[in-house]
Symmetry: C2
Subunit: 437 residues, 2 copies
Amino acid sequence: MSRKIVGLTVRDVRFPTSLEQHGSDAMHTDPDYSAAYVVLDSDCGLRGFGLTFTLGKGTEIVVSAIEALAGLVVGKCLQEIVGDFRGFYRLLTSDGQMRWLGPEKGVIHLATAAVLNAVWDLWARAEGKPLWKLLVDMDPKTLVSCIDFRYITDVLTEEEALKLLMNAQEGKQQREAEMLSEGYPAYTTSCAWIGYSDQQLRQLCTDALASGWTKFKVKVGADLQDDTRRCGLVRQMIGPDNILMIDANQRWDVDEAISWVKSLAQFKPLWIEEPTSPDDILGHAAISKALAPLGIGVASGEQCHNRVMFKQFLQASALQFIQIDSCRLASVNENLAVLLMAHKFRVPVCPHAGGVGLCELVQHLILFDYICVSASLNNRMCEYVDHLHEHFTSPVMIRDAHYMPPKDPGYSCEMLETSVQRHHFPDGDVWKRLLKK
Amino acid sequence: MSRKIVGLTVRDVRFPTSLEQHGSDAMHTDPDYSAAYVVLDSDCGLRGFGLTFTLGKGTEIVVSAIEALAGLVVGKCLQEIVGDFRGFYRLLTSDGQMRWLGPEKGVIHLATAAVLNAVWDLWARAEGKPLWKLLVDMDPKTLVSCIDFRYITDVLTEEEALKLLMNAQEGKQQREAEMLSEGYPAYTTSCAWIGYSDQQLRQLCTDALASGWTKFKVKVGADLQDDTRRCGLVRQMIGPDNILMIDANQRWDVDEAISWVKSLAQFKPLWIEEPTSPDDILGHAAISKALAPLGIGVASGEQCHNRVMFKQFLQASALQFIQIDSCRLASVNENLAVLLMAHKFRVPVCPHAGGVGLCELVQHLILFDYICVSASLNNRMCEYVDHLHEHFTSPVMIRDAHYMPPKDPGYSCEMLETSVQRHHFPDGDVWKRLLKK
């Protein structure tokens, strides 16, 4: 069977999360968690599902970008793509006319992520495995053949990547068994969005503690007095031994970040996330250096736009926690490169998730990272947000604050067709009703 | 008169330059120089024209992004916008939902550039001045009020920017008079696109020398043997005293860039432009360090996506020539920030131009830079490419290889309506004919 891709459809799916301030932070005060949702049809009937995450407005721009890429995918056989996945990756990211729109950043890269996520889903389904297991079972040579090493060979060559993967083969089966029984540790961001009241916050912390959560993230950055009260409240709720992280979502300039976080140091956060512009490598390095004596690390990555940026964040010792994203980077291919570079620099990877579909996707990558790359859980955990999972055919499974490895074939981002139709923007039922108001 | 903006139209305009290999380089082998072209209508009948430059495919994505921004512009009065231009800039670049698509990079930032270019054009027309003169006559306080200093205050504060502008007031009138009589020095890229034959190259060099050109750029990076022959040929044609620059358009990795350029050092290039990824600040710093002993500088900027990136290129001594772009950065506002930072670091600015409309636009910025910021012509020149000027109502005027200051009110990017209609994609006459083939 050739598994030729005969069609690509993309839809603009939006959830009105802003109505209840879910997902609100200092810079994104009213997000409507959304997705540009891709379905690939193959001639054998098998389908591949992929998406990229957005915050509402502008999703139609990403849809337009995916439509522009469709011609590079439709008509190709799955085997032809994955047999030279590096070449296919390069085809999508380096089109002589379209690369001007990035290159490898912004809308065009988000679109590339959605398309490639669908290709990986199709591949995993064709092999009858969940994506993490497809990766775990893949031989290191095939794995590195999926990576475009352009612009990162000064830090990681193909040969070196291969060696890192070979070295991590030891203990692999044991780690896979461990994951299947224990799951991957998670932390929760659901308790303390910036738009939530103190009462909500208290209730959510109480519930989360009862469900076994031990690691909590608090959104900060809009108002220092407010942050002090909220961080104090959460630290009081969770006690001195549980872990607290804070997240400013890029609200500050470099010097402001340092002084603001120093004021919150009393609450012993493990990290400050996105203290400033996601582009500011040297700024993050300065902040890291200033906060190191306080035992506070710097985390970033959900808007770090490609492997070249991550390379430099590592070279400059600018981050103590690397937060990969399954949709900001161009799918598994580029995330593999970042996982390997992070391992080389011994910086723990703690994925960004939440949104819609991000938990479903990124759990596969971090399982692979533990089993086949880092072999470590030290200072590592994957973000979890308790929203919108009900719209997926294979939603994440959390047990005792751990991600349990998915078992269904694919990359876990197939949405229920009824959900897609109801939330289709602007003509699904949900939006027709809201827009009428 | 309120000058309320009552309408925004945007059109996808493409020129089939790839048919004759105009604009071809090592990474963009078949560009169709294109523009997302914006017209603002105001209630008093005055119109503002703006554009962002693209390479063909994907222009419709930028059009979609401009349409998404239109709602933030239409309905506002010009005075309301320019009275708080920093606030308006922030409104466009920091929308809580749309900033996820960048932030401040890629398609959404190119779209912002087109919209703001049109606003600046409208402002200059309302004042009856060419844009450069509007800027030159503007008091420093108003100038800095147009700049968003977010994320750059660790290098340049508003107070410092004001001081730099105040200090440069001395000799301003004299420099303005000098520009009006002599013009701003230019170099030509029109002689040596990568797709041109040796014969074409010889002929174009001969013609350019006869027209008074003394500075020449050669595209390199696809094949070393080819580059050696072409650079040798150009150096032979122009002699030892004229200036040669080479441009690799991001073709190499860091180590490859260093060794390749060393092989071409015999031709005494002033700079190597875009040796590697435009995102690789530390990579450019390494290349700069390696090439400094050979007297070769590193230049980049046409794909440097915002002021935060330029800030770091300067902090890291990664560039010896800063190449601003009138459409990659978000219009005059962000370019002002970069001009001031470059001046602080004493790094010469040599704008990127060419494409369609880039020469028309950027000449205004570099005139302002000389008259009001840098006050220096040392190692400075503005790119010039001899294509597509005939489509503009106020095309650039070159005299003896110098840009002569434009005199018509506005930002010089109004296109002839007949040109827009003929090249409208895909239904203008030019494209109807080509697509039929």
